[in-house]
Amino acid sequence: TSARVCRGCSRASPVPCRMVPVRWSRYSPSYLEPEVKKEYYQKPAEELTEEEREQMNLKAVRPIKAAPPTLSSSVFSDPMISKFTNMMMKSGNKVLARSLMSQTLEAIKRKQLEKYHKAPENEKETIECNPYVIFHQALKNCQPIIGLSNITKGGKTYQVPVPLTDNRKRFLAMKWLITECRENKHRRTMMPEKLSQELLLAFNNEGPVIKRKHVLHKMAEANRAYAHFRWW
Protein backbone atom coordinates (compact mmCIF):
# COMPACT_ATOMS: atom_id res chain seq x y z
CA THR A 1 0.00 0.00 0.00
CA SER A 2 1.25 3.51 -0.72
CA ALA A 3 2.08 5.71 2.28
CA ARG A 4 -0.65 8.23 2.96
CA VAL A 5 0.35 11.90 3.01
CA CYS A 6 -0.66 14.02 6.03
CA ARG A 7 -2.66 16.95 4.60
CA GLY A 8 -1.56 19.47 7.21
CA CYS A 9 2.22 19.18 7.00
CA SER A 10 2.52 17.32 3.63
CA ARG A 11 4.82 14.64 5.05
CA ALA A 12 4.27 10.96 4.28
CA SER A 13 3.29 9.04 7.41
CA PRO A 14 1.42 5.72 8.01
CA VAL A 15 -0.53 7.22 10.95
CA PRO A 16 -2.53 10.51 10.86
CA CYS A 17 -0.46 13.12 12.78
CA ARG A 18 -2.41 15.54 14.94
CA MET A 19 -1.30 19.17 15.39
CA VAL A 20 -1.75 20.01 19.08
CA PRO A 21 -2.04 23.78 19.71
CA VAL A 22 0.16 24.90 22.63
CA ARG A 23 0.02 28.74 22.77
CA TRP A 24 -2.44 31.65 22.51
CA SER A 25 -6.15 31.36 22.60
CA ARG A 26 -6.20 27.79 21.36
CA TYR A 27 -6.04 26.92 25.07
CA SER A 28 -9.40 26.10 26.61
CA PRO A 29 -10.47 28.69 29.25
CA SER A 30 -9.87 26.24 32.09
CA TYR A 31 -6.09 26.56 31.65
CA LEU A 32 -4.38 28.79 34.27
CA GLU A 33 -1.35 31.09 33.81
CA PRO A 34 1.98 29.82 35.18
CA GLU A 35 3.28 31.56 38.32
CA VAL A 36 7.08 31.89 38.48
CA LYS A 37 7.72 34.29 41.37
CA LYS A 38 9.46 32.55 44.25
CA GLU A 39 7.83 34.82 46.87
CA TYR A 40 4.37 33.46 45.94
CA TYR A 41 5.30 29.93 46.98
CA GLN A 42 7.34 30.88 50.02
CA LYS A 43 4.44 32.60 51.82
CA PRO A 44 3.27 30.55 54.84
CA ALA A 45 -0.38 29.36 54.76
CA GLU A 46 -1.65 31.82 57.41
CA GLU A 47 -0.76 34.97 55.45
CA LEU A 48 -2.83 34.09 52.39
CA THR A 49 -5.97 36.09 51.68
CA GLU A 50 -9.26 34.46 50.59
CA GLU A 51 -8.63 34.90 46.85
CA GLU A 52 -5.14 33.55 47.10
CA ARG A 53 -6.35 30.50 49.03
CA GLU A 54 -8.94 29.88 46.32
CA GLN A 55 -6.30 30.31 43.63
CA MET A 56 -4.02 27.74 45.33
CA ASN A 57 -6.88 25.22 45.49
CA LEU A 58 -7.69 25.82 41.85
CA LYS A 59 -4.09 25.12 40.85
CA ALA A 60 -4.38 21.63 42.27
CA VAL A 61 -7.16 20.66 39.85
CA ARG A 62 -6.83 22.82 36.75
CA PRO A 63 -4.23 22.33 33.99
CA ILE A 64 -1.58 25.07 33.51
CA LYS A 65 -0.43 26.70 30.25
CA ALA A 66 3.13 26.19 29.05
CA ALA A 67 5.46 28.98 30.18
CA PRO A 68 6.74 31.15 27.31
CA PRO A 69 10.56 31.21 26.89
CA THR A 70 10.73 34.90 27.87
CA LEU A 71 9.12 34.30 31.27
CA SER A 72 11.93 34.03 33.82
CA SER A 73 12.07 33.48 37.59
CA SER A 74 15.47 35.16 37.77
CA VAL A 75 15.77 38.14 40.13
CA PHE A 76 17.65 39.97 37.38
CA SER A 77 14.97 39.77 34.68
CA ASP A 78 13.41 43.05 33.54
CA PRO A 79 10.34 43.19 31.23
CA MET A 80 11.48 46.45 29.54
CA ILE A 81 14.88 44.97 28.72
CA SER A 82 13.20 41.84 27.31
CA LYS A 83 10.91 43.99 25.15
CA PHE A 84 13.88 45.98 23.85
CA THR A 85 15.81 42.78 23.12
CA ASN A 86 12.85 41.41 21.15
CA MET A 87 12.70 44.58 19.10
CA MET A 88 16.41 44.34 18.33
CA MET A 89 16.06 40.71 17.27
CA LYS A 90 16.29 39.84 13.56
CA SER A 91 15.04 36.57 12.03
CA GLY A 92 14.35 35.08 15.44
CA ASN A 93 17.99 35.14 16.53
CA LYS A 94 17.27 35.77 20.21
CA VAL A 95 20.73 34.52 21.27
CA LEU A 96 22.44 37.26 19.26
CA ALA A 97 19.98 39.95 20.38
CA ARG A 98 20.43 39.03 24.04
CA SER A 99 24.22 38.99 23.81
CA LEU A 100 24.15 42.42 22.10
CA MET A 101 21.95 43.72 24.92
CA SER A 102 24.28 42.41 27.64
CA GLN A 103 27.32 43.83 25.81
CA THR A 104 25.52 47.21 25.60
CA LEU A 105 24.79 47.23 29.34
CA GLU A 106 28.39 46.26 30.07
CA ALA A 107 29.69 49.02 27.76
CA ILE A 108 27.52 51.63 29.53
CA LYS A 109 28.77 50.40 32.90
CA ARG A 110 32.43 50.53 31.83
CA LYS A 111 32.17 54.05 30.43
CA GLN A 112 30.42 55.35 33.55
CA LEU A 113 32.81 53.56 35.94
CA GLU A 114 35.86 55.00 34.17
CA LYS A 115 34.33 58.46 34.47
CA TYR A 116 33.51 57.74 38.13
CA HIS A 117 37.05 56.69 39.05
CA LYS A 118 38.60 59.70 37.33
CA ALA A 119 36.20 62.24 38.85
CA PRO A 120 37.07 64.28 42.00
CA GLU A 121 35.40 63.28 45.29
CA ASN A 122 32.60 65.86 45.31
CA GLU A 123 31.40 64.91 41.81
CA LYS A 124 31.34 61.17 42.41
CA GLU A 125 27.74 61.10 43.70
CA THR A 126 26.37 62.78 40.58
CA ILE A 127 27.71 60.07 38.23
CA GLU A 128 25.17 57.28 37.71
CA CYS A 129 26.85 53.92 37.14
CA ASN A 130 23.86 51.56 37.15
CA PRO A 131 23.17 50.61 33.48
CA TYR A 132 19.55 49.66 34.27
CA VAL A 133 18.78 53.06 35.80
CA ILE A 134 20.39 54.75 32.79
CA PHE A 135 18.39 52.56 30.39
CA HIS A 136 15.03 53.27 32.04
CA GLN A 137 15.68 56.99 32.41
CA ALA A 138 16.88 57.27 28.80
CA LEU A 139 13.72 55.52 27.53
CA LYS A 140 11.56 57.78 29.67
CA ASN A 141 13.31 60.85 28.28
CA CYS A 142 12.74 59.63 24.71
CA GLN A 143 9.00 58.98 25.09
CA PRO A 144 6.85 61.52 23.19
CA ILE A 145 3.84 63.02 25.02
CA ILE A 146 1.64 63.54 21.98
CA GLY A 147 1.65 61.91 18.57
CA LEU A 148 0.40 62.62 15.05
CA SER A 149 -2.15 60.57 13.15
CA ASN A 150 -3.19 60.73 9.46
CA ILE A 151 -6.89 61.59 9.10
CA THR A 152 -8.48 61.97 5.63
CA LYS A 153 -11.26 64.57 5.40
CA GLY A 154 -12.70 65.99 2.20
CA GLY A 155 -10.08 64.28 0.00
CA LYS A 156 -7.09 65.78 1.87
CA THR A 157 -4.98 63.97 4.51
CA TYR A 158 -4.21 66.00 7.63
CA GLN A 159 -1.61 65.28 10.36
CA VAL A 160 -3.75 65.49 13.48
CA PRO A 161 -2.29 65.69 17.03
CA VAL A 162 -3.52 62.73 19.04
CA PRO A 163 -2.88 61.42 22.61
CA LEU A 164 -0.74 58.27 22.84
CA THR A 165 -1.21 55.26 25.10
CA ASP A 166 1.64 54.21 27.40
CA ASN A 167 2.42 51.18 25.27
CA ARG A 168 2.61 53.25 22.13
CA LYS A 169 4.95 55.77 23.81
CA ARG A 170 7.28 53.01 25.00
CA PHE A 171 7.23 51.37 21.58
CA LEU A 172 8.03 54.64 19.78
CA ALA A 173 10.94 55.42 22.13
CA MET A 174 12.48 51.98 21.62
CA LYS A 175 11.86 52.03 17.87
CA TRP A 176 13.51 55.43 17.46
CA LEU A 177 16.58 54.36 19.44
CA ILE A 178 17.05 51.20 17.40
CA THR A 179 16.51 52.82 13.99
CA GLU A 180 18.83 55.67 14.92
CA CYS A 181 21.58 53.19 15.76
CA ARG A 182 20.99 51.02 12.71
CA GLU A 183 20.78 53.72 10.07
CA ASN A 184 22.54 56.92 11.01
CA LYS A 185 25.86 55.57 12.20
CA HIS A 186 29.08 54.48 10.55
CA ARG A 187 28.76 51.05 8.96
CA ARG A 188 31.66 49.48 10.83
CA THR A 189 30.74 50.40 14.44
CA MET A 190 29.36 47.56 16.54
CA MET A 191 25.80 47.76 17.85
CA PRO A 192 26.70 47.72 21.59
CA GLU A 193 29.02 50.67 21.06
CA LYS A 194 26.43 52.68 19.10
CA LEU A 195 23.59 51.82 21.47
CA SER A 196 25.55 52.62 24.64
CA GLN A 197 26.49 56.01 23.19
CA GLU A 198 22.87 56.78 22.23
CA LEU A 199 21.51 55.67 25.63
CA LEU A 200 24.02 57.84 27.48
CA LEU A 201 23.12 60.85 25.32
CA ALA A 202 19.40 60.25 25.85
CA PHE A 203 19.98 59.92 29.60
CA ASN A 204 21.40 63.45 29.56
CA ASN A 205 18.54 64.73 27.36
CA GLU A 206 20.83 65.23 24.38
CA GLY A 207 21.30 63.42 21.10
CA PRO A 208 19.38 62.74 17.87
CA VAL A 209 16.55 60.73 19.44
CA ILE A 210 15.58 63.51 21.84
CA LYS A 211 15.74 65.88 18.88
CA ARG A 212 13.32 63.68 16.93
CA LYS A 213 10.91 63.72 19.89
CA HIS A 214 11.10 67.52 20.03
CA VAL A 215 10.46 67.75 16.27
CA LEU A 216 7.33 65.60 16.71
CA HIS A 217 6.13 67.81 19.57
CA LYS A 218 6.68 70.95 17.46
CA MET A 219 4.74 69.47 14.51
CA ALA A 220 1.86 68.58 16.86
CA GLU A 221 1.93 72.13 18.27
CA ALA A 222 1.94 73.56 14.74
CA ASN A 223 -1.06 71.44 13.70
CA ARG A 224 -3.14 72.36 16.75
CA ALA A 225 -5.84 73.76 14.50
CA TYR A 226 -6.75 70.28 13.19
CA ALA A 227 -7.13 68.75 16.66
CA HIS A 228 -10.95 68.78 16.39
CA PHE A 229 -10.77 66.35 13.42
CA ARG A 230 -10.17 63.61 15.94
CA TRP A 231 -13.35 61.78 16.91
CA TRP A 232 -12.00 59.34 19.55
Binding site: K38, S74, V75, F76, M101, S102, Q103, L105, E106, K109, R110, L113, E114, Y116, H117, C129, N130, P131, Y132
Partner: protein, 382 residues
Protein backbone atom coordinates in the same frame (compact mmCIF):
# COMPACT_ATOMS: atom_id res chain seq x y z
CA UNK B 1 73.90 35.73 40.44
CA UNK B 2 71.70 38.45 39.03
CA UNK B 3 69.94 40.64 41.57
CA UNK B 4 66.22 40.55 42.23
CA UNK B 5 64.25 42.76 39.93
CA UNK B 6 67.19 43.41 37.66
CA UNK B 7 65.18 42.09 34.75
CA UNK B 8 62.49 44.71 35.27
CA UNK B 9 62.50 48.10 33.58
CA UNK B 10 63.65 51.01 35.79
CA UNK B 11 60.11 52.42 36.22
CA UNK B 12 58.87 49.08 37.54
CA UNK B 13 61.78 48.65 39.93
CA UNK B 14 60.65 51.70 41.92
CA UNK B 15 57.47 49.83 42.81
CA UNK B 16 59.47 47.03 44.48
CA UNK B 17 60.74 49.13 47.33
CA UNK B 18 57.26 50.00 48.59
CA UNK B 19 56.25 46.35 49.03
CA UNK B 20 55.24 45.67 52.64
CA UNK B 21 55.88 42.23 54.00
CA UNK B 22 52.96 42.04 56.44
CA UNK B 23 49.21 41.95 56.00
CA UNK B 24 48.74 45.11 58.08
CA UNK B 25 46.17 47.32 56.40
CA UNK B 26 47.60 50.74 55.58
CA UNK B 27 45.29 53.73 55.45
CA UNK B 28 41.66 52.63 55.11
CA UNK B 29 41.14 48.92 55.95
CA UNK B 30 40.77 46.72 52.86
CA UNK B 31 38.34 43.86 53.12
CA UNK B 32 39.12 40.28 54.09
CA UNK B 33 39.59 39.10 50.53
CA UNK B 34 42.47 41.46 49.73
CA UNK B 35 46.07 41.02 50.70
CA UNK B 36 48.74 43.67 50.63
CA UNK B 37 51.45 41.09 49.91
CA UNK B 38 52.30 41.86 46.31
CA UNK B 39 55.42 39.67 46.09
CA UNK B 40 54.42 36.21 44.81
CA UNK B 41 57.47 34.67 46.54
CA UNK B 42 55.85 35.33 49.91
CA UNK B 43 52.43 33.88 49.03
CA UNK B 44 51.46 30.93 51.25
CA UNK B 45 48.27 28.99 52.08
CA UNK B 46 47.39 31.86 54.39
CA UNK B 47 46.93 34.04 51.29
CA UNK B 48 44.73 31.53 49.49
CA UNK B 49 41.50 32.89 47.90
CA UNK B 50 42.76 36.44 48.38
CA UNK B 51 43.50 38.99 45.69
CA UNK B 52 46.89 40.63 45.47
CA UNK B 53 47.70 43.81 43.64
CA UNK B 54 50.28 44.19 40.86
CA UNK B 55 51.40 47.83 40.36
CA UNK B 56 50.45 49.09 36.91
CA UNK B 57 54.02 49.91 35.83
CA UNK B 58 55.02 46.35 36.64
CA UNK B 59 52.11 45.04 34.59
CA UNK B 60 53.32 46.99 31.56
CA UNK B 61 56.89 45.73 32.01
CA UNK B 62 56.23 42.08 32.87
CA UNK B 63 53.12 41.45 30.72
CA UNK B 64 53.44 43.28 27.37
CA UNK B 65 51.50 40.25 26.09
CA UNK B 66 50.04 37.27 27.89
CA UNK B 67 47.16 38.58 29.98
CA UNK B 68 43.67 37.48 28.83
CA UNK B 69 41.73 40.17 26.97
CA UNK B 70 38.89 40.45 29.49
CA UNK B 71 41.41 40.83 32.32
CA UNK B 72 43.09 43.67 30.45
CA UNK B 73 39.70 45.39 30.10
CA UNK B 74 39.16 44.88 33.84
CA UNK B 75 42.53 46.50 34.62
CA UNK B 76 41.50 49.46 32.46
CA UNK B 77 38.09 49.85 34.14
CA UNK B 78 39.12 49.33 37.77
CA UNK B 79 42.48 51.11 37.38
CA UNK B 80 44.22 48.29 39.23
CA UNK B 81 45.40 44.72 38.47
CA UNK B 82 44.25 42.22 41.10
CA UNK B 83 45.05 38.54 40.72
CA UNK B 84 43.61 35.83 42.95
CA UNK B 85 46.06 33.54 44.75
CA UNK B 86 44.80 30.00 44.18
CA UNK B 87 45.93 26.50 45.16
CA UNK B 88 47.35 25.36 41.77
CA UNK B 89 49.56 28.46 41.59
CA UNK B 90 50.79 27.98 45.17
CA UNK B 91 51.57 24.35 44.35
CA UNK B 92 53.57 25.34 41.26
CA UNK B 93 55.45 28.05 43.17
CA UNK B 94 56.44 25.59 45.90
CA UNK B 95 57.76 23.18 43.25
CA UNK B 96 59.76 25.96 41.61
CA UNK B 97 61.21 27.10 44.94
CA UNK B 98 62.36 23.60 45.86
CA UNK B 99 63.63 22.47 42.44
CA UNK B 100 67.28 21.64 41.80
CA UNK B 101 68.51 23.67 38.86
CA UNK B 102 71.46 21.49 38.01
CA UNK B 103 69.03 18.73 37.00
CA UNK B 104 67.26 18.81 33.59
CA UNK B 105 64.33 21.23 33.40
CA UNK B 106 61.05 19.87 34.79
CA UNK B 107 57.93 20.32 32.64
CA UNK B 108 54.66 21.38 34.27
CA UNK B 109 51.38 21.15 32.37
CA UNK B 110 48.47 23.19 33.72
CA UNK B 111 45.18 21.69 32.53
CA UNK B 112 41.52 22.10 33.37
CA UNK B 113 38.09 22.75 31.90
CA UNK B 114 37.27 25.85 29.94
CA UNK B 115 37.50 29.12 31.84
CA UNK B 116 38.87 27.79 35.13
CA UNK B 117 41.91 30.08 35.33
CA UNK B 118 44.81 28.29 33.62
CA UNK B 119 46.19 31.39 31.88
CA UNK B 120 45.92 33.43 35.09
CA UNK B 121 47.86 30.72 36.99
CA UNK B 122 50.54 30.92 34.31
CA UNK B 123 50.65 34.71 34.65
CA UNK B 124 51.02 34.41 38.43
CA UNK B 125 54.03 32.11 37.93
CA UNK B 126 55.52 34.45 35.29
CA UNK B 127 55.17 37.36 37.73
CA UNK B 128 56.93 35.36 40.46
CA UNK B 129 59.80 34.44 38.14
CA UNK B 130 60.32 37.97 36.86
CA UNK B 131 60.34 39.25 40.46
CA UNK B 132 63.01 36.64 41.26
CA UNK B 133 65.11 37.85 38.32
CA UNK B 134 64.63 34.95 35.93
CA UNK B 135 64.70 35.30 32.15
CA UNK B 136 61.09 34.73 31.11
CA UNK B 137 60.34 33.35 27.64
CA UNK B 138 56.56 33.91 27.52
CA UNK B 139 54.64 32.79 24.45
CA UNK B 140 51.13 34.21 25.04
CA UNK B 141 49.20 31.85 22.78
CA UNK B 142 50.84 29.21 20.62
CA UNK B 143 47.56 28.81 18.70
CA UNK B 144 48.13 32.21 17.06
CA UNK B 145 51.17 30.75 15.31
CA UNK B 146 49.25 27.94 13.60
CA UNK B 147 46.21 29.82 12.32
CA UNK B 148 45.22 33.05 10.53
CA UNK B 149 48.69 33.70 9.16
CA UNK B 150 48.54 36.19 6.27
CA UNK B 151 52.15 35.80 5.09
CA UNK B 152 53.99 32.53 4.81
CA UNK B 153 57.50 32.72 3.35
CA UNK B 154 59.71 29.83 2.44
CA UNK B 155 62.54 29.74 4.96
CA UNK B 156 65.97 30.66 3.59
CA UNK B 157 67.70 28.46 6.21
CA UNK B 158 65.84 25.24 5.40
CA UNK B 159 63.93 24.81 2.14
CA UNK B 160 61.23 22.57 3.64
CA UNK B 161 60.19 24.98 6.37
CA UNK B 162 57.94 28.04 6.30
CA UNK B 163 58.58 31.40 7.98
CA UNK B 164 56.02 33.66 9.63
CA UNK B 165 57.46 37.17 9.63
CA UNK B 166 54.51 39.02 11.22
CA UNK B 167 54.00 36.72 14.20
CA UNK B 168 57.75 36.50 14.82
CA UNK B 169 58.28 40.27 14.76
CA UNK B 170 55.34 40.89 17.13
CA UNK B 171 56.73 38.35 19.58
CA UNK B 172 60.27 39.78 19.34
CA UNK B 173 58.97 43.27 20.12
CA UNK B 174 57.18 42.06 23.25
CA UNK B 175 60.14 39.89 24.30
CA UNK B 176 62.40 42.94 24.06
CA UNK B 177 60.10 44.97 26.35
CA UNK B 178 60.04 42.37 29.10
CA UNK B 179 63.71 41.28 29.17
CA UNK B 180 65.81 44.37 28.47
CA UNK B 181 68.65 43.54 30.90
CA UNK B 182 69.29 40.02 29.71
CA UNK B 183 69.52 41.00 26.07
CA UNK B 184 72.41 43.25 26.96
CA UNK B 185 74.26 40.63 29.01
CA UNK B 186 73.88 37.42 27.01
CA UNK B 187 76.44 37.22 24.21
CA UNK B 188 76.20 35.19 21.02
CA UNK B 189 78.51 32.20 20.69
CA UNK B 190 78.58 31.89 16.93
CA UNK B 191 78.62 34.10 13.90
CA UNK B 192 75.20 34.40 12.22
CA UNK B 193 74.86 35.53 8.60
CA UNK B 194 71.48 37.07 7.77
CA UNK B 195 71.95 38.05 4.16
CA UNK B 196 74.55 39.26 1.67
CA UNK B 197 75.74 42.19 3.80
CA UNK B 198 74.21 41.56 7.22
CA UNK B 199 75.78 39.36 9.84
CA UNK B 200 76.17 39.24 13.62
CA UNK B 201 79.65 38.51 14.96
CA UNK B 202 80.46 36.18 17.83
CA UNK B 203 80.36 37.78 21.24
CA UNK B 204 77.83 40.52 20.37
CA UNK B 205 74.92 41.05 22.80
CA UNK B 206 71.68 39.24 21.91
CA UNK B 207 70.03 42.63 21.64
CA UNK B 208 71.57 43.03 18.20
CA UNK B 209 69.99 39.78 16.99
CA UNK B 210 66.61 41.03 18.17
CA UNK B 211 67.13 44.43 16.50
CA UNK B 212 68.11 42.61 13.31
CA UNK B 213 64.91 40.55 13.46
CA UNK B 214 62.79 43.68 14.00
CA UNK B 215 64.52 45.69 11.29
CA UNK B 216 64.54 42.97 8.63
CA UNK B 217 61.14 41.37 9.06
CA UNK B 218 61.92 38.66 6.50
CA UNK B 219 64.49 37.12 8.84
CA UNK B 220 62.45 37.60 12.05
CA UNK B 221 61.63 33.87 12.42
CA UNK B 222 65.31 32.98 12.08
CA UNK B 223 66.14 35.66 14.65
CA UNK B 224 63.66 34.01 17.04
CA UNK B 225 65.32 30.65 16.40
CA UNK B 226 68.77 32.11 17.14
CA UNK B 227 67.55 33.75 20.37
CA UNK B 228 65.99 30.51 21.61
CA UNK B 229 69.10 28.50 20.73
CA UNK B 230 71.51 30.88 22.44
CA UNK B 231 69.42 31.11 25.59
CA UNK B 232 69.04 27.34 25.81
CA UNK B 233 72.76 26.71 25.39
CA UNK B 234 73.79 29.25 27.99
CA UNK B 235 71.17 28.48 30.65
CA UNK B 236 73.13 25.63 32.24
CA UNK B 237 76.00 27.95 33.17
CA UNK B 238 73.95 29.35 36.04
CA UNK B 239 74.30 33.07 35.34
CA UNK B 240 70.51 33.30 34.91
CA UNK B 241 67.47 31.08 35.42
CA UNK B 242 65.22 30.45 32.47
CA UNK B 243 61.45 30.07 32.53
CA UNK B 244 59.77 28.87 29.35
CA UNK B 245 56.06 29.77 29.69
CA UNK B 246 53.90 28.56 26.79
CA UNK B 247 50.13 29.09 26.75
CA UNK B 248 48.24 26.64 24.56
CA UNK B 249 51.08 24.16 24.12
CA UNK B 250 48.75 21.68 22.40
CA UNK B 251 48.98 23.85 19.28
CA UNK B 252 52.54 22.68 18.69
CA UNK B 253 51.48 19.08 18.01
CA UNK B 254 48.01 19.47 16.58
CA UNK B 255 46.98 20.43 13.05
CA UNK B 256 47.07 23.87 11.52
CA UNK B 257 44.61 25.64 9.21
CA UNK B 258 47.41 27.13 7.11
CA UNK B 259 47.91 26.09 3.51
CA UNK B 260 50.85 26.34 1.15
CA UNK B 261 50.53 28.01 -2.24
CA UNK B 262 49.56 24.70 -3.85
CA UNK B 263 46.70 24.36 -1.31
CA UNK B 264 48.31 21.45 0.52
CA UNK B 265 47.93 21.58 4.32
CA UNK B 266 50.86 22.66 6.47
CA UNK B 267 51.71 20.55 9.51
CA UNK B 268 52.96 22.56 12.51
CA UNK B 269 56.37 20.85 12.30
CA UNK B 270 57.00 22.61 8.98
CA UNK B 271 56.80 26.07 10.59
CA UNK B 272 60.14 27.50 11.81
CA UNK B 273 58.67 29.10 14.92
CA UNK B 274 56.89 25.92 16.02
CA UNK B 275 59.97 23.78 15.24
CA UNK B 276 62.21 25.96 17.41
CA UNK B 277 59.67 26.10 20.20
CA UNK B 278 59.36 22.30 20.24
CA UNK B 279 63.12 22.10 20.77
CA UNK B 280 62.80 24.59 23.64
CA UNK B 281 60.12 22.52 25.38
CA UNK B 282 62.34 19.40 25.42
CA UNK B 283 63.93 18.61 28.76
CA UNK B 284 67.50 18.34 27.49
CA UNK B 285 68.69 21.55 29.14
CA UNK B 286 69.10 22.53 32.78
CA UNK B 287 68.95 25.69 34.86
CA UNK B 288 65.26 26.51 34.73
CA UNK B 289 61.73 25.21 34.31
CA UNK B 290 59.11 24.81 31.61
CA UNK B 291 55.54 25.76 32.57
CA UNK B 292 52.87 25.16 29.92
CA UNK B 293 49.11 25.40 29.69
CA UNK B 294 46.71 23.32 27.64
CA UNK B 295 43.92 25.25 25.99
CA UNK B 296 40.89 24.05 24.07
CA UNK B 297 39.56 27.55 23.44
CA UNK B 298 41.85 28.47 20.56
CA UNK B 299 42.63 24.93 19.46
CA UNK B 300 41.94 23.53 16.02
CA UNK B 301 39.98 20.37 15.27
CA UNK B 302 39.51 19.41 18.92
CA UNK B 303 36.09 18.70 20.51
CA UNK B 304 34.87 21.48 22.76
CA UNK B 305 34.56 19.33 25.88
CA UNK B 306 38.14 17.99 25.67
CA UNK B 307 40.40 19.15 28.49
CA UNK B 308 42.68 16.30 29.56
CA UNK B 309 46.32 16.19 28.36
CA UNK B 310 45.71 12.91 26.53
CA UNK B 311 42.84 14.35 24.46
CA UNK B 312 44.33 17.75 23.68
CA UNK B 313 47.97 16.86 23.07
CA UNK B 314 47.32 13.75 21.01
CA UNK B 315 49.73 10.83 20.88
CA UNK B 316 52.65 12.77 19.38
CA UNK B 317 52.41 15.67 21.80
CA UNK B 318 51.97 13.47 24.86
CA UNK B 319 55.06 11.43 23.97
CA UNK B 320 57.04 14.60 23.36
CA UNK B 321 56.04 16.17 26.67
CA UNK B 322 56.20 12.96 28.72
CA UNK B 323 57.32 12.97 31.59
CA UNK B 324 55.58 16.07 32.97
CA UNK B 325 54.00 17.20 36.23
CA UNK B 326 50.23 17.69 35.67
CA UNK B 327 48.59 20.52 37.61
CA UNK B 328 44.77 20.50 37.47
CA UNK B 329 42.94 23.80 37.90
CA UNK B 330 39.38 23.42 39.25
CA UNK B 331 36.46 25.88 39.37
CA UNK B 332 36.19 28.32 42.27
CA UNK B 333 35.84 26.83 45.76
CA UNK B 334 33.07 28.45 47.89
CA UNK B 335 35.69 30.63 49.60
CA UNK B 336 37.16 31.77 46.29
CA UNK B 337 33.69 32.53 44.96
CA UNK B 338 32.92 34.68 48.04
CA UNK B 339 36.20 36.46 47.51
CA UNK B 340 35.53 37.20 43.83
CA UNK B 341 31.94 38.27 44.53
CA UNK B 342 33.09 40.57 47.33
CA UNK B 343 35.71 42.11 45.06
CA UNK B 344 33.13 42.87 42.36
CA UNK B 345 30.86 44.45 44.97
CA UNK B 346 33.65 46.53 46.42
CA UNK B 347 34.76 47.81 43.00
CA UNK B 348 31.13 48.69 42.13
CA UNK B 349 31.15 46.23 39.25
CA UNK B 350 27.85 44.62 40.34
CA UNK B 351 25.45 47.55 39.97
CA UNK B 352 22.06 45.77 39.84
CA UNK B 353 20.27 46.31 43.15
CA UNK B 354 19.28 42.62 43.36
CA UNK B 355 22.91 41.57 42.91
CA UNK B 356 23.66 42.82 46.43
CA UNK B 357 21.08 40.45 47.96
CA UNK B 358 21.56 36.85 49.08
CA UNK B 359 19.14 35.68 46.37
CA UNK B 360 21.18 37.40 43.68
CA UNK B 361 24.40 35.88 44.99
CA UNK B 362 22.87 32.39 45.08
CA UNK B 363 21.60 32.86 41.54
CA UNK B 364 25.03 33.98 40.30
CA UNK B 365 26.65 30.96 41.93
CA UNK B 366 24.11 28.60 40.40
CA UNK B 367 24.17 30.07 36.90
CA UNK B 368 27.97 30.27 36.69
CA UNK B 369 28.57 26.89 38.35
CA UNK B 370 31.46 28.63 40.18
CA UNK B 371 33.31 28.82 36.86
CA UNK B 372 35.47 31.98 36.85
CA UNK B 373 34.85 32.85 33.19
CA UNK B 374 31.08 32.34 33.42
CA UNK B 375 30.94 34.45 36.58
CA UNK B 376 32.83 37.22 34.83
CA UNK B 377 30.53 37.10 31.79
CA UNK B 378 27.39 37.03 33.95
CA UNK B 379 28.52 39.88 36.16
CA UNK B 380 29.28 42.04 33.11
CA UNK B 381 25.79 43.31 32.32
CA UNK B 382 24.61 43.26 35.95
Amino acid sequence: QLHRGQALHTTARDGLSSVSSQDVPAGRPRAVFHTSESDPAKHTEQHEARLYDIPLEEVKAVFPHGLPHRFQQQIQTFNEARVMVRKPALELLSYLKSSNFSHPAVRYVIYGERGTGKTMTLCHVVHYCSRQGWLVLHIPDAHLWVKNCKELLQSSYNKDRLDQPLQASVWLKNFKTSNERFLQEIKTQKKYIWGKQESTEEGRPLREVVEQGLARVRSASDAVGVVLREIKQQSHRGSFRLLVAVDGVNALWGRSTLRKEDKSPVSPGELTLVHNLRKMVMNDWSGGAIVTTLSQTGSLFKPSLAYTPQELLGKEGFNALDPFVPIPVPNYSPREFESCYGYYLERRWLQHEKAHTEDGKAELQFLSGSNPRQLDRLAGPL
